[in-house]
């Protein structure tokens, strides 16, 4: 029996499952190929959709001829933008708290012109996907090709075409920040170190692409959508709103989702169009984006150029940071989370781990005729971390200080919290010093340096790089709700005892593979007092779960889990009330352990939950007068004390550069992370590993390459390079634990930290390896070509 005494009731429960690496209850099913992904769903009379997509990045639609397509046998419908616009309202991707953010209204199929290559223009439904594609080839669109805005640096120049004339210019949003007195800091500084960092646009490449099956029942105007989106309630609201339906007659169901990482948290025009098709046809319509469509249809992310400065004194003190961030998005701001959030995160989080007071920033978010851009795992954090940690390393080198010692000198002290960052971000409790100390042990820093140095003498160029980071998790309403978005930051859980003593747990959080169901089951089992095999977890259905936010911003454990903890505690109270009534005991002397009501102090078993169920449901006549058993409990939770649960950590990369070929070999990677209470260590470590690898992808391989006509040059799996097994190191994971006081569980989020710090660690290791050559790289991905160019070999 594991007994703890942390002062947190949920962690101190007897037979607690918190902190145990329990295997996921839904994993065996997936390992046998018995998942239900959206393309596995087959309904009566279902038709398959595809789209005619614009071959041009910017072109006016002069006319659309669909006659030949409509006539093809097996085609059920060919729908033009005008026809679809009659049944839905357009949307605008702005939020009020991003002041000044402007975006043009977007329809599911554009009425006037295509504004990115790959934009869906005409919708087709047919008996098979193959026939729909045959029909797409027969649609004839007469285009007037327009000049293309394909470069962020010149997007707001006077002589650049304005994509949406009614907006006046291509500036989506500008954010400025000014804290402290940076000019005084510059005057006082001994060195002002500068650098420019470029981040290649990349995309999520979820192995399961986006998709949905939409079914509209016209007599009740009931819309049911099976959707592999992360936020069913958000989608429910949006579909009801845009299609003028009653929200309670819109049901969104998410079954198994083949990875999402933020790609499937947004609202996509082609998915809205699919729903529209189902309303027009009154038959189920399935749309699965294929891989070619995904590359140009999914959101891209991380297309930034950041000029950064750091001011330091000779004694190693950081006094200021400044950035000028330029990010080129698509032609619209994505709905409903906006395409300004990534830049906002960059501005808010530069310099995060370090104690300094002076900060200035300007971020310009500009429109381009390229794929839309929006939140993808770790939203803006890989950028702010690489800029910060790149400047920190460069400053350390300028001062002749060891990069670790320089960081340690400037960290917020572990015992100095709560405090605010230079930008006013409220930090509850972080552990930069502890994490750094742990990673130095893990890598055996002195030995590693010796090895690196010895090999350098032999012409083998290895480098060690660090990246300290902060990652936003458990977002409150401050993230989206305050701006007017109907995105729920709270979450709810309903728990119900059945007639056999089992417990149904229904949660508004959703699962995309990270193990949310396991985490929920561990918390539920612990809070009620049953073993996890007595639980049935219900998620992903707006009709059968409490109103919730789904999963994003690493919130499922910290927010979803907390609601479950509270609901479980309340259910236990209610069960014990029933037991007390049956046993004629004081409920306060009883507890539930392993599915049995016991005397708290002795552990003596008194009555099983199955027996309580039997009596309450079938023999209520035997219960005392005036007593009504209530065996369902619902609780909701939202963080209130802190707008975000900031987490922190540090990563280290050890790599070797082949200076003749430019190839980089990743030898080792380490991460020490603090996500507060760890509910399932195995799952957290695997989130870290998967996140690190996505970060490594952006650092070394992944980039959406465009020509000056806005054509994506590598929109397929052969030319867009995702990390595969043979090029990756093993990743060592360690932890510090700083629980949040904002919840009883104390759990912060862990899903994105790996991605946040990995690119910065690799960049710093690369530049460490290249330091004998007076070569420095700050443009990701770090391709062999860039390495050879920096070395002057080509």
């Amino acid at each position: 029996m594991n007994e703890q005494n942390t002062g947190r009731w949920i962690l101190d429960r007897p037979n607690s499952y918190i902190g145990r690496s329990v295997p996921r209850p839904n994993a065996p099913r997936l390992a046998e190929g018995r998942g239900t992904f959206v393309d596995d769903i087959d309904l009566k009379r279902m038709v398959h959709a595809t789209f005619v997509r614009s071959p041009y990045a910017h072109a006016r639609i002069k006319s659309i001829n669909v006659e030949a397509a409509r006539a093809l046998p097996g085609v059920v419908a060919v729908v033009t933008p005008q026809e679809l616009a009659k049944i839905h309202d357009p949307w605008v991707g702005v939020l009020t708290h991003l002041e000044g953010l402007k975006s043009a209204p977007q329809h599911a199929l554009p009425l006037e012109k295509a504004t990115w290559q790959g934009e869906a223009i005409v919708a087709i439904a047919a008996e098979t996907r193959a026939i729909a594609e045959d029909a797409a080839a027969l649609v004839d669109i007469d285009w007037e090709v327009l000049p293309v805005v394909a470069e962020a640096e010149t997007a707001t120049d006077d002589n650049t075409l304005v994509i949406h004339e009614e907006l006046g210019d291509n500036l989506a949003w500008q954010r400025k920040a000014d804290f402290g007195d940076i000019d005084a800091a510059y005057a006082d500084a001994d060195h002002i170190v500068e650098d420019t960092f470029v981040f290649g646009r990349h995309t999520g490449v979820c192995l399961e692409s986006r998709g949905l099956v939409s079914e509209f029942e016209p007599s009740e105007e009931q819309l049911t959508v099976w959707h592999n989106n992360q936020c069913p309630h958000m989608i429910q609201n949006i579909l009801a709103d845009k299609f003028r339906l009653e929200e309670h007659r819109v049901r969104v169901i998410t079954r198994d989702v083949g990875g999402s990482f933020g790609i499937k948290v947004h609202t996509y025009a082609d998915e809205i169009a699919t729903v529209g098709l189902s309303i027009l046809l009154k038959r189920p319509v399935k749309y699965i984006a294929d891989r070619l469509e995904s590359f140009v249809g999914d959101i891209h992310a991380r297309d930034h150029r950041v000029k950064g400065k750091i001011a330091v004194r000779n004694d190693g003190t950081i006094t200021a940071f400044e950035i000028d961030d330029l990010t080129g998005i698509g032609p619209y701001s994505m709905y409903p989370r906006t395409s300004g959030i990534e830049a906002n995160q960059v501005v808010n989080m530069i310099g995060g781990p370090y104690d300094f007071d002076n900060y200035r920033a300007v971020a310009n978010v500009v429109y381009q005729n390229k794929a839309m851009m929006c939140q993808y795992r770790a939203v803006g954090h890989p950028i702010k971390c690489a800029v910060t940690e790149g400047l920190v390393d460069k400053a350390a080198r300028t001062l002749g200080m060891d990069p670790v010692a320089f960081r340690q000198k400037n960290f917020h002290r572990d015992d100095s919290y709560p405090k605010k960052s230079a930008q006013g971000m409220p930090f509850e409790n972080l552990s930069h010093e502890e994490c750094m100390s742990k990673i130095l042990d893990a890598i055996d820093y002195d030995a590693l340096k010796s090895e690196r140095d010895a090999l350098r003498d032999k012409g083998v160029y290895r480098g060690i790089g660090f990246a300290s980071f902060i990652e936003v998790t458990n977002p409150s309403a401050m993230f989206y709700g305050v701006g007017g978005a109907r995105i729920s930051a709270q979450d709810g859980a309903t728990m119900r005892l059945d007639a056999k003593g089992n417990v149904f747990v229904s949660t508004g959080a959703t699962e995309q593979g990270q193990g949310m169901e396991a985490v929920i089951s561990q918390v539920a089992a612990t809070s009620v007092g049953v073993s996890p095999d007595r639980l049935k977890i219900i998620t992903g259905d707006t009709e059968h779960t409490p109103y919730g936010g789904g999963t994003w911003g690493s919130r499922a454990a910290g927010i979803g889990g907390e609601a479950v903890a509270q609901a479980g505690r309340q259910l236990r109270v209610q069960i014990l009330d029933a037991a007390a009534a049956m046993l004629q005991e004081d409920a306060a002397t009883l507890d539930i352990r392993n599915g049995v009501v016991v005397d708290s102090d002795t552990g003596n078993e008194r009555i099983g939950l199955d027996e309580i169920g039997r009596i309450c449901y079938y023999r209520p006549d035997t219960l005392p007068d005036g007593f009504q058993a209530e065996l369902v409990a619902t609780r909701h939770y939202v963080p209130r004390k802190f707008p975000f649960a900031f987490t922190n950590g540090v990563q280290a990369s050890y790599l070797e550069v082949d200076t003749e070929t430019g190839f980089i070999t990743l030898l080792n990677h380490w991460c020490v992370e603090d996500c507060g209470t760890v509910i399932n260590p195995l799952l957290v470590d695997e989130q870290i590993r998967g996140g690190v690898v996505q970060g490594l992808g952006g650092a070394l391989w992944e980039e959406c390459l465009y020509d000056d006509q806005g054509q994506m040059l590598n929109a397929n799996m052969a030319d867009y390079l995702v990390p595969m097994a043979a090029e990756l190191p093993d990743i060592d994971c360690g932890h510090a634990v700083s629980p949040t006081e904002d919840s009883d569980l104390g759990a912060k989020g862990a899903g994105e930290a790996g991605t946040c710090g990995a690119p910065a660690a690799v960049m710093n290791a690369l530049n460490d390896a290249l330091s004998p050559f007076d070569a420095r790289l700050t443009s990701m991905p770090f391709t062999p070509k860039k390495v050879l160019t920096a070395l002057g070999r080509i």
């Binding site: 193959a130 080839a137 294929d290 070619l292 990390p723 595969m724 062999p784």
Partner: protein
């Protein structure tokens, strides 16, 4: 994407295949391993009316020793070439190349002859064939003929195979005493098409180079031999100085293309690195 619609016929014999190809002309494509063809059709980059499946034709698969050569049937799956003791012994260059070709599931279906006939300039096997002086055996309605590897690759995806003909086998001369092979490619990820690669087949008797074949892939629109650079090896023993001279010669001799991963100058530079890293170890350095 799904392919555009096509009809599908299985050829039961070579004559059957010739008749079908004659009947349908440009509208037909041969389906062997399908690992390149189906990817192309799945992207609708090509839309043939008819696929002629030659997988059931007897006698096109298998590896046999024919005196001084290995005769590799065109329908021999890559995996069977990869696992062949005869290939390991008599054509070590090919053995070295095999596990760079895509991935196991692709190699289980893709064919040796298919790769040769498809003639992707970034593929390994065409360059191996040229480096080893292989002979391609081609069959058609009017009979069979042989084409030397050096004459077989005519341009980008273009070979000496004429419409209506089928590659039936490739004969690779067995490696002889004193000769050594070296294979090296640089790819962003294991199994990707190489940025550039080298098939080296050299006469190295007691540390002194004799005749040499240096054939690069992804250095042009077909396998690219570098005879002028190879000639510099004759009579020489390995040295850093020789390596430098070879690299400099390659910069003149090669004219590689630009693509997403590398441009011409980068490929030229890498060619020099490949030569150094292949020949140096061969010479025991």
């Amino acid at each position: 994407m799904k392919p555009a619609p096509f009809a599908y016929v299985r050829a039961g014999s070579l004559d059957d295949a010739f008749a079908l190809l004659a009947e349908h002309g440009d509208d037909a494509r041969i389906l062997a391993g399908g690992q390149s063809l189906m990817a192309t059709l799945n992207m609708r980059l090509s839309a043939p009316e008819v696929l002629v499946d030659i997988n059931r034709i007897d006698g096109l698969a298998g590896i046999e020793e024919t005196g001084d050569a290995l005769r590799i049937g065109a329908m021999t799956r890559h995996v069977d070439v990869e696992e062949s003791p005869a290939v390991a012994t008599h054509a070590p260059l090919i053995a070295a190349a095999m596990d760079h070709i895509a991935h196991p599931a692709i190699r289980n279906r893709g064919t040796f002859g298919g790769s040769i006939a498809f003639a992707d300039p970034a593929a390994e096997l065409p360059a191996c064939a040229v480096a080893l002086g292989a002979t391609m055996h081609i069959a058609g309605k009017s009979g069979t003929r042989d084409v030397a590897a050096a004459d077989f690759f005519e341009g980008l995806y273009e070979t000496a195979i004429r419409p209506g003909e089928i590659l039936t086998a490739v004969s690779v001369p067995k490696i002889t005493a004193g000769w050594k092979s070296g294979f090296l490619e640089l790819a962003r990820r294991h199994g990707d098409y190489a940025i550039i690669g080298l098939c080296a087949h050299v006469d190295l008797d007691g540390g002194t180079f004799g005749d040499a074949n240096l054939v690069f892939f992804n250095a042009g629109d077909r396998p690219v031999s570098a005879p002028e650079t190879a000639a510099l090896l004759k009579g020489q023993t390995w040295s850093d100085d020789l390596a430098d001279r070879l690299a400099a010669s390659l910069k003149d001799e090669l004219d590689p293309p630009d693509d997403l991963n590398a441009d011409g100058p980068m490929r030229k530079h890498l060619a020099g690195v490949l030569v150094k890293r292949t020949l140096g170890p061969m010479a025991g350095e």
